[in-house]
């Protein structure tokens, strides 16, 4: 598939174009020589895996980030001067994370940053008037004086769009607006966008959901690893072809890498788990088995594992841990830890480590009871214990007196794993274990996870890194909208099958 930007699919002239955009963060290139052009009246889809560079590119278009190379042009004129200039040029970005102020009213939020004033005082009547017009334009009825914090997530999403529309934009960028919406709300939103486009607005629509792209977009651009794979008229492509473009490399499971696993008894069992964003999940993890949870960001994977082990509130369901022939119910996070559950959280800096404390102290934390006599910590025992574990996970440099915050991301993750290894866990839950970790440390963390499984630990891994998920897991459950959308194992698990389950495109026929 080649780049095809000249096909006159959409009626209007080009409103916004980005040419040869390059953006680097530190050593990593997030956007690598990408060009895109969007016409008036066009809905332009933008797709790619997590981390493909979609959000970065959109933040550049909206003036939030400055490109290292390349140029953004609106009506042929170069755009410089940051967010303000982009707003003035008529570019409105609806963020992935909602950016409303919960304490303010609907009207105030819609007009935030553009309050009409008279003699320095807010002109309340005009404020409500403009806000009401914007809401009418998108066809949504919301109480103007209601505090936004009391609105449903869906209504907040619509208020956010009204806020963009109130500024009379020429380009509207939406970053996964349907991630938190129900099917009916999604349907409404898509119809609304089509109507806005008919009025001449240029819309850039980012979504992981392939059916939505095919329903409303005129053209679609695919990014992968920061690079432009191509722009295609929607009529000239198929869902299967699009997924292939997103995934790229025909990644086949390398059976050499996979472990010989002979799973034992079920150790971690979840039945009917419900929680925020989790809508009834049954899940088993056996001794010596690595179970992977795939899916899109926001699908509810983190929420699921946290609800299972009691780190967050579970509204329904039962979770048990079986060890030494005894089955114990997990009622709280503390009971989970007591019964041999270890948890490596997604955010290691904020949730996994006390950064201002030493490596030794971090490793000692969950093991403090066995390192103390009568409540008094034995320093020599603590340092010998911590040193042994730091060495076993390959911490570099292996200086346990240094603060955990002085180490790189990969080493910090090793410290988090080391502190749990000391407890010989029966179950270990790892959420994005190698995010932001360099290649060498990633391989070592994979080795540690495999060793744990080989020793009979039940392993549950959440990962958005598809090659990692495929490489590590014996079984993959793909989560979508808080449910298991499908379960894959052996040769049927490949990037395409995982992605199509995750994106809700249904099973895509194998090429």
């Amino acid at each position: 598939m080649t780049a095809d930007q000249t096909t006159p699919e959409a009626p209007g002239p080009v409103v916004i174009e980005a040419e040869s955009i390059v953006k680097r963060f530190g050593g990593a290139t997030a956007v690598d020589d990408v060009s895109i052009a969007v016409r008036s009246g066009e809905i332009h889809g933008l797709v790619g895996e997590n981390g493909a560079g979609k959000s970065t590119l959109m933040r550049i278009l909206a003036g939030i980030l400055t490109p290292d190379q390349g140029e953004v042009r609106v009506d042929g004129r170069p755009l410089t001067g940051g967010t303000r200039a982009a707003l003035d040029a008529g570019i409105a970005l609806v963020h992935q994370e909602l950016s409303l102020v919960p304490e303010l009213t609907t009207a105030e939020n819609i007009m935030l940053g553009a309050f009409p004033t008279r003699l320095g005082f807010t002109n309340a009547r005009q404020l409500r008037g403009v806000a009401a017009t914007a809401l009418r334009e998108i066809g949504v009825s919301v109480d103007l004086d209601e505090r936004v914090g009391r609105l449903s997530v869906a209504l907040r999403q619509f208020v956010e769009i009204a806020r963009a529309v109130a500024r009379k934009p020429r380009v509207l960028i939406l970053d996964e607006p349907t991630a938190t919406l129900t099917p009916a709300e999604t349907d409404y939103l898509l119809t609304m966008l089509q109507r806005l486009a008919e009025g001449g607005l240029a819309i850039i629509y980012i979504s992981h959901r392939i059916p939505e792209i095919f329903r409303i977009c005129d053209r679609v651009t695919v990014l992968r690893d920061g690079q432009l794979i191509g722009t295609t008229p929607i009529r000239a492509t198929t869902p299967a072809a699009l997924v292939d473009q997103m995934v790229g490399r025909e990644y086949k499971l390398d059976l050499q890498i996979r472990r010989e696993s002979t799973p034992g008894e079920v150790v971690l069992a979840a039945r009917g788990v419900r929680a925020h964003r989790v809508h009834g999940v049954d899940l088993d993890v056996r001794a010596g088995e690595i179970v992977g949870l795939g899916g899109l960001v926001g699908a509810g994977r983190t929420e699921l594992v946290r609800a299972m082990i009691g780190a967050d509130i579970r509204t329904a369901g039962r979770v048990t841990v079986t060890a030494h022939g005894r089955t114990r119910s997990i009622s709280s996070y503390q009971s989970a830890v007591r019964n041999g559950v270890a948890y490596v959280p997604e955010e290691r800096r904020t949730d996994g480590l006390a950064l201002t404390m030493s490596v030794a102290e971090n490793i000692a934390l969950p093991n403090r009871r066995r390192l103390a006599t009568g409540g008094v910590l034995r320093r020599s025992r603590v340092s010998a214990f911590a040193q042994r574990l730091a060495d076993s996970v390959g911490l570099r440099p292996p200086d346990i007196r240094k603060d955990a915050g002085d180490y790189s991301g990969g080493n910090q993750q090793k410290i988090v794993i080391a502190k749990w290894l000391g407890r010989n866990p029966k179950v270990i839950v790892l959420d994005e274990p190698t995010r932001g970790v360099d290649v060498g440390a990633k391989a070592e963390i994979h080795r540690l996870i495999r060793e744990l499984a080989d020793q009979g630990t039940a392993v549950l891994v959440v990962s958005s890194d598809l090659p990692e998920l495929l490489e590590l897991s014996d079984v993959i459950h793909v989560i979508r909208d808080g449910r298991i959308a499908g379960t894959l194992s052996g040769p049927e698990a490949d990037e395409r099958s995982v992605m199509s389950l995750a994106a809700g495109g249904g099973m895509v026929g194998k090429a």
Partner: protein, 322 residues
């Protein structure tokens, strides 16, 4: 930390934040000894310790709350006064033993109420302890009628207040013993470890399987017990007690903790630092008094020092984060 080159601004800040108090306290004492008339005299040194001990005992205890990342316990003002009044008033009518037991029960109640509100209900420590201050002082004034209580001139409390150990008042010895005991508790035991860990990162500590609410209750209990001891020392010193006698103890203790270099963000600090902070503030105040500089100026100096100490702490943190 080894450095070959000239230290940068950030490194200087970190040095001041980490080691500064040891150096500054030594320098201040040396300065006073060399240049301030009457500083080195039995009478003056005894006086410095007499004034420093009660507030110092409160400060070493409150260090636990500050390190746990819960800012401070304002209610020590009510707790110290209550312990002093109960000690003298109850022992006058029912004997010393019962007075101590009553004060202990009240201290535990304060610690549990503050600790449960902050630890289990997740309320803001400043608001909670401000409320318990008002309630506590209100009850104390109501029950005591605002009157001053005097111990019998030949009673045991009076006697304890007069005891001298190696020329220094007993209160100074109590301060030293409390510091040593609490330093051990904070630095060497599992309980102290959890206080520091919670202050450094409460989420990570919870996710290590720790019952963090109980840790918070523990921090407030330590503070309350210290405030009780401080109340006893204060009552013994003058053989009198009144509901207003601990005014300013809240910020006085916080000043010593912060100037000692314990971080208001939690996680970093020590009991020994607080002791140095107490000595620093007391000696500085003494210098100003001996130099006949008014009380207003003393307050301004302490206030400015707190701002300086907090700024150094904040800037050093920002520098370290880069």
């Amino acid at each position: 930390m080894k450095r070959g080159t000239r230290p940068s601004g950030a490194q200087t800040l970190q040095w001041v934040s980490e080691r500064g108090i040891f150096f500054f306290t030594a320098a201040l004492v040396a300065f006073a000894a060399l240049f301030i008339d009457n500083f080195v005299s039995i009478v003056n040194i005894t006086d410095v310790f007499h004034r420093a001990a009660p507030i110092g005992i409160v400060a070493v205890g409150m260090t636990f709350v500050v390190i746990s990342g819960n800012y401070l316990d304002l209610s020590v003002v009510a707790q110290v006064a209550t312990a002093a009044v109960v000690l003298i008033a109850v022992s006058n009518s029912a004997g010393l033993g019962l007075a101590v037991l009553a004060a202990l029960a009240i201290a535990l109640l304060y610690g549990v109420v503050n600790g449960v509100a902050v630890g289990y209900l997740r309320a803001n420590a400043v608001i909670v302890t401000l409320s318990t201050t008002f309630v506590g002082l209100g009850i104390l004034r109501w029950l005591s009628g605002g009157s001053i209580f005097f111990g019998p001139p030949d009673g045991p409390i009076r006697a304890l207040g007069q005891v001298k150990v190696v020329g220094l008042p007993l209160s100074a010895l109590v301060l030293v013993v409390m510091t040593a005991a609490l330093a051990f508790l904070l630095g060497r035991t599992n309980f102290g470890f959890l206080i520091r860990s919670f202050g450094s990162n409460r989420t990570a500590t919870r996710l290590a399987g720790v019952d963090t609410s109980r840790v918070v209750v523990g921090a407030f209990l330590i503070t309350s017990l210290s405030a009780m001891v401080a109340g006893f020392v204060l009552a013994a010193f003058s053989n009198t007690a009144v509901s207003t006698m601990a005014q300013g103890f809240d910020f006085g203790a916080l000043a010593a903790i912060i100037i000692g270099g314990t971080s208001v963000f939690g996680g970093k600090g020590s009991v020994l630092r607080t002791l140095l902070g107490v000595i620093f503030v007391s000696v500085l105040t003494n210098i100003l008094v001996l130099s006949k500089i008014g009380f207003g100026w003393q307050q301004m100096a302490i206030g400015a020092l707190i701002v300086l100490a907090v700024s150094v702490d904040t800037l050093a943190r920002k520098a370290a984060r880069r």
